[in-house]
């Protein structure tokens, strides 16, 4: 069972989940789970392995169907026949969504074109994320940490208001973590919203943080 801590409900909340219930076979991952996150706020999902953190994030992204309850983003349910509810939302899961055959530049250019990010600025972004040297290497040869950085660069390019990050610190060195934290602080300061599954501590600066504790350990 999961319980919500801190943060009350307000009608103006940008992201709300109400009464979410999901079973995997005979296992109840969460039962009547509710949460909310306002602009400029971060929602940290914590809990032991197997407590359904990733699944909850996927439910918020509209990738997984909850059995009951619904997630609303600006008042629109995220699961619908059209994808309009997914407007201005970006999801970054365990998989990096990089094609091993393409170079880092080619991979990022694809997502830049999808999200309308100016192609000319990808170079600067690669410098900021410490990937300038691998711009023209196929991502097949990149290290796990470099791939993670490229995936985070994609999140940044999306220009989305809502970031859904599943353990974004995985495989990152300290410079990589600083890049991530800087990116997140800037995003939250610009009244963006972030939902983050994280095991390690993460420095989000002055942004208000709500912690959602999953699993029995709560």
């Amino acid at each position: 069972m999961a319980r919500r801590r801190g943060g009350g409900f307000r009608e103006v909340d940008l992201l709300t989940g109400t009464g979410l219930t999901l079973w995997r076979g005979a296992n109840c991952l969460f039962d009547a789970l509710s949460f909310s996150a306002a602009p400029g706020n971060a929602l940290l999902i914590r809990g032991p392995n197997g407590s359904g953190k990733t699944t909850l994030l996927r439910v918020i992204a509209g990738l997984t169907l909850a059995e009951e309850g619904e997630v609303k983003w600006n008042g629109t349910p995220v699961i619908g026949c059209d994808n309009s509810g997914r407007h201005l939302m970006t999801y970054c899961g365990h998989a990096t969504a990089l094609k091993p055959e393409l170079t880092t530049m080619e991979n990022l250019r694809f997502f830049a074109r999808l999200s309308g990010y100016p192609i000319r600025q990808i170079g600067e972004l690669l410098v900021a994320s410490g990937l300038a040297a691998c711009a023209d290497l196929p991502t097949r040869v990149l290290s796990a940490g470099q791939k993670r950085r490229a995936a985070l660069a994609r999140v940044f390019m999306s220009g989305a208001q809502l970031w859904l990050l599943d353990e974004p610190q995985t495989n990152l060195d300290s410079a990589g973590r600083q890049f991530l934290e800087r990116m997140l602080q800037e995003h939250l300061a610009g009244s963006g919203t972030a939902v983050i599954v994280a095991h390690q501590s993460i420095d989000l600066g002055a942004a208000p943080v709500t912690v959602l504790q999953m699993g029995e350990a709560a």
């Binding site: 995997r24 076979g25 005979a26 169907l65």
Partner: protein
């Protein structure tokens, strides 16, 4: 109307209702099949061309009719389950498949037995038999997709998409097989819709079709009960049922 509908869709209620319905379906089915068999095998006259060989239509025609009907039933149930997310509908679709495949196999076997006296061979690439064969493959595809998933929820929804794709294709397959067969044999002699069938021969056929349909519904109700019980295995009412209590008290 709607409250009744939702009550029906709740597993314990369905389990109880379907259970009391089964005898009301299966006994009349048995009665109709006995009457139809008597009518078809004893009372109806022999055909002046085919002799007694034609009498297998009393099994073949109801089977082949149901092989299609069950597929449509399955697709409709799957569609309802997919759109309105009603788990019971998925259980109905899952239970339809093996029954439909059995009727299809029965239609194929009886068609072949009929072929022997008619054409002198058990198998002829004739449109109806060919359609039934393809339909059997559609059932097999559905059942193997269903069993390929570990997650029941995923399995329900994925196989529902396949059933819907299949039901759009069934008429296309049927007509292209007719077209294909017409090309080879000239106008094909349709065995089933004979231009005018004598009343003595017709009424047992209709009785048999009705009997087979009731039989299908009875077997379906039984299978869905089993399916629901298996799916709700962990719930309290199912445990109570398994311990022998009435689902009414538990539900």
């Amino acid at each position: 109307m709607w409250t009744w509908f939702f009550q029906l869709a709740s597993p314990p209620h369905f389990y109880r209702m379907a259970g009391s319905l089964v005898p009301w379906l299966l006994w009349p089915a048995l009665l109709l099949i006995v009457i139809g068999s008597w009518g078809g095998l004893v009372q109806a006259p022999a055909d002046y061309q085919q002799g007694d060989g034609y009498r297998i239509i009393y099994v073949h025609v109801p089977s082949s009719y149901l092989s299609m009907m069950v597929y449509v039933t399955m697709a409709v149930a799957a569609g309802i389950g997919l759109i309105w997310r009603i788990k019971l509908a998925h259980a109905v679709a899952a239970s339809c498949a093996p029954i439909g495949a059995t009727f299809t196999a029965a239609a194929l076997v009886t068609g072949m037995l009929w072929g022997k006296p008619m054409w002198g061979t058990y198998w002829q690439w004739e449109p109806r038999l060919t359609s039934e064969l393809i339909l059997l493959f559609l059932y097999f595809g559905y059942m193997s997709l269903r069993s390929a998933f570990n997650d029941l929820n995923q399995s329900d929804r994925a196989s529902a998409v396949l059933a819907l794709a299949g039901v759009v294709n069934v008429p296309i397959i049927h007509f292209s097989v007719l077209w294909w067969a017409g090309l080879h044999q000239g106008p094909s002699i349709s065995k089933i819709d004979a231009p005018s069938i004598a009343f003595d021969m017709l009424w047992p056929l209709l009785v048999m079709i009705l009997g087979f349909t009731l039989f299908f519904l009875g077997v379906l109700a039984m299978r869905v009960r089993g399916e629901v019980l298996e799916r709700e295995f962990h719930s309290r009412w199912a445990q109570d049922v398994l311990r022998g209590a009435s689902p009414m008290e538990a539900g």
